[in-house]
C-alpha cells in the first residue's frame, strides 16, 4: 500500500512573463513505512514536492494521493484536517510558536486533535525526553539553541503518531552530532511505528540513513535508488 502517490504532478510558477516549471510530470509512489530522501541541487523541486505532498501548496496539474485520499482537489479546511490527522512536519527553520514553551509547542497539535490534558502533557514530556530535552520543557523557543528548537519541532511532528512525516532539510541548521541524534530518532520511529518518512536534503548523512533516494533536477525525478 502506498503512503504517497503522485501522477503527472506539475507545478508552474509565473515570474512575470516567464513560466518556471518547479515540478514537471512527476510520477512517484512511496510505500507506507518507507524512509525516503529527496535530494538534488537547489531549485530542483525538493521543497515544492514536499509542500505538494503535505497539502501546503496546490499543484498546477496532476494528482496526489496521501493516506488514501486525493488531496489535489481538497479544500483548505479539508487539507488542514488531513495534515492534523495524518501528517507531521519538520521545517528547515524550526517554525515553533514563539509564545509557547517547548512543552506547549509539542502539546499544541495533540490538543487540536482532542487529546486530554493529562495524556498530552505526559506524551509531550515523554517525547521531549526522547529527543533529549528533559529539563528544558518550559523554555520558550528564544531560550533554546537551534538544535534544541529543531528537536522540539521533531517532537511536535511525531507527538500524535502521524502516518507520514515530511521533513524539509531537517538537519540544515544543526551540527553533525545533533543531526545524527535526530536521524537515529527518525529511524527508530520509522522502525517501531512504521511511520513513513520523506525528507529533503543536501546532507550525505541523511542520505546514508534513507532506504530509498530520489534525485530531482529541474523539477523531474532523474534517479530513484533503492538502498535496502
Amino acid at each position: 500500500m502506498y503512503s504517497v502517490s503522485c501522477r503527472r504532478l506539475c507545478k508552474t510558477f509565473q515570474q512575470g512573463e516567464l513560466a518556471v516549471h518547479a515540478l514537471a510530470d512527476v510520477d512517484l509512489d512511496i510505500d507506507a513505512g518507507g524512509f525516503v530522501c529527496l535530494f538534488g541541487p537547489s531549485g530542483s523541486g525538493k521543497t515544492t514536492l514536499l509542500n505538494m505532498i503535505g497539502g501546503l501548496d496546490t499543484p498546477s496539474s496532476g494528482e496526489i494521493t496521501v493516506a488514501g485520499q486525493r488531496i489535489d482537489q481538497m479544500k483548505r479546511a479539508e487539507l488542514a484536517r488531513l495534515r492534523l490527522k495524518h501528517l507531521g512536519f519538520v521545517f528547515q527553520s524550526y517554525n515553533l510558536i514563539p509564545v509557547l514553551s517547548a512543552r506547549e509547542n509539542v502539546e499544541f497539535v495533540a490538543q487540536m486533535q482532542g487529546m486530554g490534558a493529562q495524556q498530552r502533557k505526559h506524551k509531550a514530556l515523554t517525547i521531549l525526553a526522547e529527543v533529549g530535552l528533559q529539563g528544558l520543557e518550559d523554555r520558550r523557543p528564544a531560550e533554546l539553541s537551534g538544535g534544541q528548537q529543531q528537536r522540539v519541532a521533531v517532537a511536535r511532528a511525531i507527538v500524535s503518531g502521524p502516518e507520514l512525516v515530511l521533513a524539509d532539510e531537517p538537519t540544515a541548521n544543526l551540527d553533525s552530532a545533533t543531526a545524527e541524534i535526530l536521524m537515529k530518532l527518525f529511524v527508530q520511529l520509522n522502525q517501531q511505528h512504521q511511520t513513513t518518512f520523506v525528507l529533503s536534503t543536501h546532507d550525505n548523512l541523511i542520505m546514508n540513513y534513507a532506504r530509498r533516494l530520489i534525485k530531482l533536477r529541474d523539477g523531474r525525478i532523474v534517479e530513484d535508488i533503492d538502498q535496502t
Binding site: 501546503l56 483548505r76 479546511a77 488542514a80 517554525n95 510558536i97 509564545v99 499544541f108
Partner: protein, 409 residues
C-alpha cells in the same frame, strides 16, 4: 477535533504582550475613548436632566390632570371638580411624592403705571412647596402663607416692568365662570427670582381659595399636578390614575411640554452618535494594531495552518486577541470614568463660564447623571463594533496560504 479555545486564548494573550508598547498604547486609546464616552455622556445627561427638572419645577410636574379641552383652551370654562375620594386615594399612594391642585387662568395685571398679560396661578402654598420653584425663590417679602392668604407674589422682572414693588397694590383682571370680566386688587406680599426672566414675567401667584372666590369658581380647579420618583417611568402611573379619572385628561410632562420632552429623545440619539464617533476614532487604531500584528505574524499564522489548524480557528485567535484588548480597555475606561465622575457628583460650578446657561434653563452648577443604560450602550458599542472592525485583519490572517506564509523571508 476539539476547539482548542484555551490554547488559542493563551497564544492570543501572550501575543498581545510581545509588543507591549503597542498594546499599552492601544489600551490607553480604548480606555480614554471609553472614559470620554461615559464621562461626556454623564455631563450631557446631567445638562438635559437639569433642563427637564427645571421645567418640571416650573409648574409642569411629572403628570397633570385637566379637563379634556383645557390644553386647547386653558380658560376658566375648562375647569374641573376637585379630586373625589377615588382619585384622592390614587393620588395619595406612596409612589406619588406630592400633588396639588391649582387654578391657572389668563389674566391682566396692572399697576398704577403699566399693565401686562400674565397667568394667574392660584396655589395651596403648603402643597406647592414640594412641586415647584416658588417657595425657594422668594427674594423679597414672603411666600403666601396659605391657600386663602390675601396677597400676591410676582416675579422681580414683572415688578420692574410694572414699575411697582413689594407692599404696593396691583389689580388683576380676568374672566369669571360666567364669562364676566372681574377685577380685584392685591397687595404684593412677595417677589420671587427665577432662573429664567420669562418665568419672572409669566406668573402672578395668589392663594387658591382667594382665586376661586375672585373667579366665582366655587371649589373648582384648573389642574392637578403631581410628581413621582422618576420622571422617566410614568406609563404605569399614568394608566392607574387614568383608570380612576376616566373623564379627565391625564398626561405626562413631556406631552404637556413636547419641546422639553423631545430633549430626552434628542439626547439619546446624540449620545449614540457621540459614542459611535469616538469609537470610529478608536477603530482606526484598533484595526491598525491588529493588521500590524497579523502582518508581523504571517509566518506563524501560516505555520498554525500547516500544523492542521482550521482557518476558522486562525480567525478566532485574532478575534480573541481583539476581544482581550477591548475588554481590558473597557475595564480601564469604565474605572477611569468612575474615578472621574465620583469627585464631581456634588456638581461642577460653571458660573465662571456659564452665564448663557440660564438661557437654556440650567443652573450654573452641573450635576453629572450616570445611567446604567448609557454605560451599557458605550460598552456594547465598543465590544460589538470592535469585534466587527477586527474581522478584517482576522479574515486576512485566516486567508493566508500556508506555503506563502511559511516560506516568507
Amino acid at each position: 477535533m476539539q476547539t482548542p479555545f484555551l490554547m488559542l486564548s493563551t497564544i492570543a494573550w501572550r501575543n498581545l504582550w510581545r509588543n507591549y508598547r503597542r498594546t499599552l498604547i492601544m489600551l490607553l486609546a480604548i480606555s480614554v475613548g471609553v472614559w470620554a464616552m461615559i464621562w461626556m455622556t454623564a455631563l450631557m445627561r446631567g445638562m438635559v436632566d437639569q433642563m427637564i427638572k427645571g421645567s418640571i419645577n416650573n409648574l409642569l410636574g411629572h403628570i397633570q390632570i385637566h379637563a379634556p379641552a383645557y390644553r386647547d383652551d386653558p380658560s376658566i370654562v375648562n375647569s374641573i371638580e376637585p379630586p373625589g375620594p377615588e382619585l384622592t386615594d390614587s393620588l395619595n399612594r406612596p409612589l406619588i411624592k406630592a400633588w396639588t391642585s391649582r387654578i391657572r387662568v389668563p389674566a391682566v395685571i396692572s399697576s398704577e403705571r403699566e399693565s401686562r398679560g400674565v397667568t394667574l396661578v392660584g396655589i395651596d402654598p403648603a402643597a406647592e412647596a414640594a412641586l415647584s420653584f416658588l417657595s425657594e425663590s422668594i427674594t423679597q417679602g414672603s411666600n403666601l402663607a396659605s391657600a386663602d392668604a390675601p396677597g400676591v407674589v410676582i416675579g422681580r422682572k414683572l415688578a420692574e416692568r410694572l414699575e411697582t414693588r413689594l407692599g404696593k397694590r396691583i389689580v388683576l383682571v380676568s374672566q369669571d365662570s360666567d364669562n364676566t370680566v372681574v377685577d380685584r386688587g392685591f397687595r404684593i406680599t412677595g417677589i420671587f427670582e427665577a432662573e429664567l426672566q420669562t418665568t419672572e414675567l409669566a406668573y402672578a401667584f395668589v392663594g387658591r381659595d382667594r382665586a376661586q372666590e375672585f373667579l366665582n369658581m366655587a371649589d373648582q380647579v384648573s389642574e392637578i399636578s403631581l410628581i413621582s420618583d422618576d420622571y422617566r417611568n410614568l406609563t404605569h402611573l399614568l394608566e392607574n390614575i387614568q383608570a380612576t379619572a376616566p373623564d379627565l385628561e391625564v398626561i405626562s410632562w413631556d406631552q404637556v411640554d413636547p419641546y422639553t420632552g423631545s430633549m430626552l429623545a434628542v439626547m439619546d440619539g446624540f449620545i449614540l452618535v457621540w459614542i459611535i464617533v469616538v469609537f470610529l476614532a478608536l477603530s482606526f487604531g484598533l484595526v491598525n494594531t491588529l493588521a500590524m500584528a497579523v502582518f508581523e505574524r504571517k509566518r506563524e499564522l501560516g505555520l498554525l495552518q500547516a500544523l492542521g489548524m482550521q482557518p476558522g480557528y486562525i480567525l478566532l485567535q485574532v478575534l480573541i486577541e481583539s476581544v482581550i484588548l477591548l475588554l481590558l480597555g473597557l475595564l480601564a475606561g469604565n474605572l477611569l470614568a468612575w474615578l472621574s465622575i465620583v469627585p464631581i457628583q456634588d456638581g461642577i460650578d460653571l458660573s465662571a463660564i456659564g452665564e448663557g446657561l440660564e438661557l437654556a434653563g440650567m443652573s450654573s452648577i452641573l450635576y453629572p447623571v450616570v445611567e446604567f443604560s448609557d454605560i451599557a450602550r458605550a460598552n456594547l458599542v465598543v465590544i460589538v463594533l470592535g469585534i466587527l472592525a477586527s474581522l478584517l485583519p482576522a479574515l486576512r490572517a485566516a486567508r493566508h496560504v500556508p506555503v506563502d506564509a511559511i516560506t516568507r523571508p
